[in-house]
């Protein structure tokens, strides 16, 4: 690529870079790169007398990637923030901690002194590129600002260099892109800009904190591949933080697993996957294995419970006389009793809107939905009570789905009362019983939602939806806000409950693996249109539409380790 010649100050001679190999994956004592780029010794992070992170020790060599994996609250992002000196004001690093960069101790307690390292030797890329870019500055200006920080004073040089960086992160037409504002770029492009900014620092260490979690699946894979290529070219050390084991395996030379602020497992990807030592690691690996081996689809052909016919929906205009924006167009689908339908699509594809329409929460502007043979259009989409009992919905965010003010019992009483389920006196008992269905202690019903974990809340939401013994359960991204292990438990629970109770399931998601695992048939939405619908196997093996193909390919790539040697 011609950009290479323009990047005159490339920090590490590309020739000197050793491509990662299987052999290199495991650190050996006799390694010539004996002085690692980053050494972290006994890292402790505290706030208000509480340990957030304790005793974390690791090092990363030049051109190497350490994948730091952990679930939310494991302390992985705090670790990254400590290295950058970007901890929140009330969070401190313990006295024992020693962080060295190229053998020099970092003054992590002194923000002013740390500033000398940030944007030069240290660079960082964050999770949500949209919000991490200054919405008021053109992306070009933001890259140039990083170059200016690096001492590139001449504006002409700065301009050239920023264009070269944009080319390096494989952005098309840098010249026109540089004048755009962040919101005018796609998520993938935004993250590439973030990477270009990080590269402008010519860092010794690049910290990538969940750089792909906020992106659609197909884009995730591209960014990960780009990261690997950039490392191959510029040779910096990378601390790659993720909650996704697949991504860690794809990018990491080593993998470090954190839980509750401590390192619980460390090793080469292969070791971690084949012989996980810690139970937590084992659980993570088990989730991967579970997702990689979806159960066989049910081949039942019962009566249709759900028939969606030519449904269209517009988002209402935000102000008077604005035009409504289309959300769904001419979507038709059918789901038979006891089966599960996965609806998948990227963000904004209209899949959640479809779920809401099926649950009677939104009124389409065209088309009809027939539930159990009853036309909703005939009821003007105001579902009669009898029908409401038979279709229930569970939402993505278990925080939002339960009123924080209500106890679990109150929350679960709501459908019983509203749908007149069972005799009034029997209702408290039924609540306790339903909690048992989803594997929860009935005593939890006296608590408020904030006293429950995310997984418990989602179980409550499912239990609540099942109270009316529905024949169709709509699940709208029910696991995407949960940690992988918890999400897997919920998936497993759903599958089990479906087997026990025989309800049909409409499962909306954006993660192909998850949807594939639970769905017998898959519908793919793109820009509000149904582009693909068929048995899960067929859709995955031979996707007919471009959108479906993109999704499938992304999933496939994410599955493969980047290292061809593996």
């Amino acid at each position: 690529m011609t950009a290479t010649t323009e990047l005159r100050d490339a920090p590490i001679d590309a020739a000197g870079h050793r491509a990662p190999s299987a052999a290199a994956s495991d650190r050996t004592p006799g390694d010539p790169r004996a002085v690692p780029v980053l050494e972290v010794h006994d890292l402790g992070i505290r706030t208000g007398g509480r340990d957030l992170v304790a005793g974390v020790t690791f090092s990363i060599g030049a051109g190497r990637t350490l994948a730091l994996i952990g679930q939310s609250g494991s302390g992985k992002s705090m670790t990254a923030a400590a290295i950058m000196g970007l901890l929140p004001p009330d969070v401190t690093v313990s006295a024992e901690t020693r962080i060295e960069l190229d053998g020099r101790r970092l003054p992590h307690a002194d923000d002013g002194a740390m500033r000398a390292f940030r944007g030069t030797a240290l660079a960082m890329v964050f999770q949500d590129p949209m919000s991490c870019l200054n919405p008021f500055m053109t992306v070009g200006a933001q890259i140039e600002e990083a170059l200016w920080r690096r001492g590139v004073v001449d504006p002409v040089v700065r301009r050239e260099r920023s264009l070269a960086l944009m080319a390096a992160v494989e952005l098309p037409t840098p010249e026109s892109l540089r004048r755009r504002l962040p919101h005018e770029l796609s998520g993938g492009q935004q993250q590439r800009i973030m990477l270009a900014m990080a590269l402008a620092a010519e860092p010794r260490l690049l910290i990538a904190d969940e750089p792909t979690s906020a992106l659609d699946a197909s884009v995730q894979a591209e960014i990960l591949a780009l990261l690997a290529r950039l490392q191959a070219r510029f040779g910096m050390a990378i601390l790659f933080i993720t909650h996704d084991l697949a991504a860690a395996r794809r990018l990491g030379h080593e993998i470090m697993v954190m839980r509750h602020g401590r390192v619980v497992d460390f090793g080469a990807p292969r070791t971690i996957f084949t012989t996980p030592r810690h139970p937590h690691t084992r659980a993570l690996v088990a989730v991967r294995e579970m997702l990689e081996r979806p159960p066989a689809p049910r081949r039942s052909a019962g009566t249709p419970v759900l028939e969606i016919a030519g449904v269209g929906f517009d988002y209402p205009p935000r102000r008077f006389l604005d035009r409504p924006s289309p959300a769904l167009r001419e979507v038709s689908l059918t789901l038979t009793a006891g089966r599960s339908l996965g609806v998948i699509g990227e963000s904004g594809s209209g899949k959640s809107t479809l779920a809401a329409i099926v649950a009677g929460l939104k009124t389409p502007i065209s088309g009809d939905v027939r539930l159990f043979g009853t036309s909703l259009a005939a009821h003007r989409f105001a579902l009669p009570r009898a029908l409401r009992r038979r279709v229930q919905i569970v939402f993505q965010n278990p925080h939002g789905a339960l009123n924080p003010r209500h106890t679990i019992a109150t929350a679960m009483r709501e459908p019983l009362d509203l749908l007149h389920i069972g005799p009034r006196r029997a209702r408290p008992e039924r609540v306790a019983e339903a909690l048992g269905w989803v594997g929860l202690d009935p005593d939890l019903r006296l608590r408020h939602p904030h006293a429950l974990s995310g997984g418990q809340r989602q179980r409550v939401a499912i239990a609540r939806a099942l109270l009316s013994e529905p024949d169709l359960l709509v699940c709208d991204e029910v696991v995407s806000a949960l940690d992988a292990t918890v999400g897997a438990e919920i998936l497993d629970l759903l599958r089990r409950l479906q087997a026990e109770r025989g309800f049909a399931l409409m499962f909306v998601g954006h993660d192909l693996e998850v949807v594939r695992w639970i769905a017998d048939e898959i519908a793919v939405l793109a820009d509000g249109r149904l582009v693909e619908h068929g048995p899960a196997d067929r859709v995955l093996v031979a996707p007919a539409s471009v959108a479906a193909r993109r999704l499938v390919e992304a999933g496939r790539r994410a599955d493969q380790p980047s290292d061809p040697a593996k």
Binding site: A356, A359, G360, L361, L383, R385, R388, Q392, I393, F395, Q396, N397, G400, A401, L402, N403, P404, R405, H406, T407, T410, A411, E414, P415, L418, L419, H448, H450, A461, R464, S468
Partner: protein, 299 residues
Amino acid sequence: MSPAGTMASGGGRRMAPGTAAALVVVGAIVLGAVAAPWLTDLSPLDQDLGGLNRGPSAEHLLGTDVLGRDILARLLWGARTTLMVGTLGTLLAFALGAGVGLAAIVFGRLTETLWFAVIDLVRALPATLLGVLLIVALGSGMAPVVIALGLSYAPLVALVVRTAHAREAARDYVAAAASFGGGRLHVLVHHILPNLAGTLVTQAAIVLPRCIVTESVLSFLGLGSSPDEPTWGRMIADASRFIEKAPHAILAPIVALVVLTTALSILGGRLRRALDPTRAAVAPAEPSAAILAGEGALS
């Protein structure tokens, strides 16, 4: 309803000293208002024409005002009318803004649009002018002042409530309730109102003192409540001509007002947190709320 329960769930915590002090202050003022007849033998209206604008003395602990009336007695008795005018004004503002506003929202898009067009209209009419026109049109006395205050602050409350309602209505638990067949009224009563409580309380803590001050501005413009009903605002307005000669006469009501305002805002903040069962500062105070509070002022 659940607020009591959630308060109880946090009851184990020690009360912050600021909150305790604020509670004591507001309690003392309310008590002073209620117990005014027993706390002082002096009437707030009795005049001592031989001793105008006198400084504090054994007979008149806080001195006398422009008509030789005992300032302490006026302060205590005035707390009654002041709190009454302030509270009624606030209540009216809330009834019109929150009550009617929410009802309009619940009844559907058309009523919402119509009502908020009216609200917008009142909002665009300069508050001072509205007050002046209303009071001149309706005559002096407590009722017109309360109406003027209520109308002046109703738009603010309405907009805050609409914002908060929109925020709450977008929550999944509202959608969940709808999926169980919960109607708008059910959702309003069970989900939105309780969760709006914090916002409303904060709002009230802002609107109440503003009503009191606004009443003083109206008094200053010669449009206040009846002269037979001492209010702190009227005391401030009456004494403003004698700041030099009798600073105590104006200091007393202003200090009372500052103390009440501070205490109310502390309590408002505290209550808002207490009413939020997650105890996290999830939502910062709605900016629009306090901004509009500023706008609604007649000062």
